[in-house]
């Protein structure tokens, strides 16, 4: 599939701070690309540079195969952007806000009416058309913010942390809406610092830290980067030091942690880890209340690569 965006050697400095450091990547047609990274890792700076809002020190940006410049109106007409901060007019209703921003792209009135209605439907604001932004909850406001950016049916959509401080219901609705946009043929660049969202949503992920790409690939590819294959957590009390030590000697075990009656065992590559530990517990006659197993998360990957937690 064609590359919708290609970024080469993008570098952006704010004074002496390198916010984006020699970034190269591409976005393929029809995919949802996740830019995952903690606050301050350079996600917003990257997007603003791609959009030609920011001057950058080095690099080249191509969108739809052409160089992106401030007056690339052809390219711009096919892009939709949802910025990190809610940006709507307090003076206009939900409907009028979407209509205003849609009108910057779509001149025909009848087409616009149709598009605005569809955007309202997509983000689930049908009951709030006549409301003013001040009357909306945080979640609904975020949905309005999204509708304003996508009503004109762009082929390429940038979403910069669209779910920050949003209630779970709105978050699910937003994520569903984004999937629907992709299914309707849009290409999407999605930034977030929530790894759970990336796991649900993205076809491919780029993990950023301090302005650099530290890993890149599909979710499964990335998870292979973590040495951990499986994490088993066992609720059991009064385990002895000897027992804990013996567990750490078992096959494939990388790490053993025991805190407040919760024993967490990280396993490296290898099969049947869960079955092996259950049998070992039986053999040692250790009582336990519950046991469960987890696959590694992107947080484990991030931890592995940077030595720190992705979560704030």
């Amino acid at each position: 599939m064609a590359n919708i965006i290609s970024v080469k050697n993008l570098t952006k400095e704010y004074g002496s701070l390198k916010a984006v450091d020699d970034l190269s990547f591409y976005v393929k047609e029809g995919e949802i690309l996740g830019l995952l990274g903690p606050n301050g890792s350079g996600k917003t700076t990257t997007i603003n540079s791609i959009l030609s809002l920011l001057k950058f020190n080095k690099g080249s940006i191509k969108i739809f195969g052409e160089e992106m410049k401030p007056d690339s109106y052809d390219i711009k007409s096919k892009i939709g952007v949802i910025f990190q901060e809610v940006s709507v007019f307090d003076e206009l209703t939900v409907y009028d806000n979407i209509d205003y921003f849609c009108g910057l792209y779509v001149s025909d009135k009848n087409t616009r009416i149709k598009y605005v209605e569809e955007a309202i439907e997509l983000v689930g604001l049908t009951d709030f058309k006549k409301f003013y932004p001040k009357q909306l909850s945080g979640g609904l406001l975020r949905r309005l913010n999204i509708a304003c950016g996508i009503a004109h049916k762009p082929k390429l959509i940038f979403l910069d942390e669209p779910t920050v401080a949003v209630d779970p219901q709105s978050r699910n609705s937003i994520l569903d809406g984004i999937k629907k946009l992709r299914d309707d043929g849009a290409t999407i660049v999605y930034t977030t610092h929530y790894m759970e969202e990336v796991e649900i949503l993205c076809d491919r992920v780029i993990i950023l830290d301090k302005g650099k790409i530290i890993a890149e690939g599909t979710i499964d590819e990335l998870k292979k980067l973590a040495n951990i294959e499986e994490k088993v957590t066992i609720e059991a009390y009064n385990l002895s030091e000897d027992f804990l030590h013996s567990v750490s000697e078992l096959k494939n075990v990388l790490e053993v942690k025991y805190v407040d009656g919760l024993l967490t065992i990280s396993f490296g590559k290898g099969k049947s880890n869960l079955i092996n530990i259950i049998e070992y517990l039986k053999e040692k006659k250790v009582d336990y209340n519950s046991i469960f197993s987890e696959r590694p998360t992107l947080n484990d990957v991030f931890l592995e690569l940077t030595g720190k937690d992705l979560r704030d």
Partner: protein, 378 residues
């Protein structure tokens, strides 16, 4: 597209309560307060008539200029009279002066003599009027009715301001009139809040909405033109409302040439627009700070131009004339005033040109900032 942006910008401005308050409501409220305050002052003025005496010998009776002037200034039927005149012999008037029934008296031989007992504001006014009549009657021989009227008005403002102004070439400024002129001027300048707000919405380095606009396929120039067009229209509607209110409700007289008055208001509003563009594009502060800045500076401008009392204008004009030379509120006020009091348009045109220069300088500087398409930091 242009129309879409224009209409929406209008909608946004008219729905913004804060902006509408400063540009529509506040000037009307202030005008009403002025009107209440001044109608009291003017009533008081009627009782504030100076008692004087005139020796009505043949010298006086034969002097046309003095006769005409004092019969006007002492006319009992005229609301504008400033003197209550007792006529009589020198002895009689000297007697009255001793008893302080009069502030002073006048007698003429080859020149005019004023006899006074003390030096107060009444005496100053009396002296000033006589000097003026002297100057005028010596100069042009023929005393025009209009100039007496002006002397009278100036004398009134002297009494009210209690400031002794030596510059007798300065013509009268009616107390109330100048306040309403500054009110119009202030409203023109408050229009800056509208252009500042409109422009802020489309600049990516000033607002988040501006980022949205900047990534859209509409050119920046078109955006700026459409939104400033909307703010200018809104501003003119505000000024028009104030004119209607002051003319028809408060009975303010702007003189006979209403078209020139309106032209000045339009040029004045343009200078307000320019100020807003300047503040929006130069100051990297939030909207409320910018709003406060515009309101603050306009208040100071208005104060210097004489809004809170003409004394201030005199002091500035005399001691630091440069301040009012670069003060757009003063340019508008002075233009309106010149239109009312002068028969020639020189001073009016001078003020129009000053306003245009003021506006274009601000717009030129702003343009340097507005041209940018990409930013170092947003």
């Amino acid at each position: 597209m242009y129309f879409h942006i224009f209409i929406n910008s209008l909608k946004v401005l008219f729905k913004n309560k804060m902006l509408i308050f400063w540009t529509f409501i506040f000037p009307i409220v202030l005008g009403t307060l002025f009107n209440m305050a001044f109608s009291n002052i003017e009533k008081e003025e009627m009782f504030n008539i100076i008692d004087i005496g005139i020796v009505n010998d043949d010298n006086y009776k034969n002097n046309q200029a003095y006769n005409m002037a004092f019969s006007y200034l002492g006319n009992v039927d005229d609301d504008n009279r400033i003197f209550n005149i007792s006529y009589g012999s020198k002895d009689k008037l000297q007697d009255m002066l001793e008893k302080e029934d009069i502030s002073g008296y006048l007698y003429l031989d080859t020149t005019a003599h004023i006899i006074i007992k003390s030096n107060g504001i009444n005496e100053s006014v009396f002296k000033y009027v006589v000097e003026e009549i002297n100057t005028i009657s010596n100069g042009i021989q023929e005393l025009e009715f209009r100039s007496i009227e002006e002397i009278s008005k100036y004398a009134i403002s002297l009494m009210n301001s209690e400031v002794k102004v030596n510059d007798t070439t300065k013509k009268n400024m009616s107390y109330t009139m100048i306040e309403f002129y500054t009110l119009i001027a202030m409203t023109c300048l408050y229009g800056a809040t509208l252009s500042m707000y409109s422009l802020n919405q489309i600049l990516p380095n000033m607002s988040n909405k501006g980022k949205r606009v900047a990534v859209s396929p509409v050119s920046k120039f078109k955006m700026i033109l459409a939104s400033l067009g909307a703010s200018f229209i809104t501003q003119l509607i505000g000024v028009l409302l104030l004119f209607i209110y002051t003319i028809f409700i408060l009975n303010v007289d702007y003189g006979s040439n209403i078209f020139l008055v309106i032209l000045l208001a339009i040029v004045g509003s343009f200078s307000g627009l320019a100020l807003g563009v300047f503040v929006s594009s130069i100051l990297k502060k939030n909207e409320n700070t910018k709003l406060g800045f515009i309101i603050g500076i306009t208040m100071v401008y208005s104060f210097f131009a004489g809004m809170m009392g003409i004394t201030m204008k005199y002091i500035i004009d005399k001691n630091m004339p440069i301040i009012n030379k670069i003060n757009p509120v003063n340019m508008i006020t002075d233009g309106l005033y010149a239109l009312y009091y002068y028969d020639t348009l020189d001073r009016y045109i001078f003020n129009i040109i000053s306003l245009l220069i003021f506006s274009f300088i601000l717009i030129f500087i702003s343009f340097i900032f507005l041209r940018r398409q990409k930013y170092d930091s947003i």
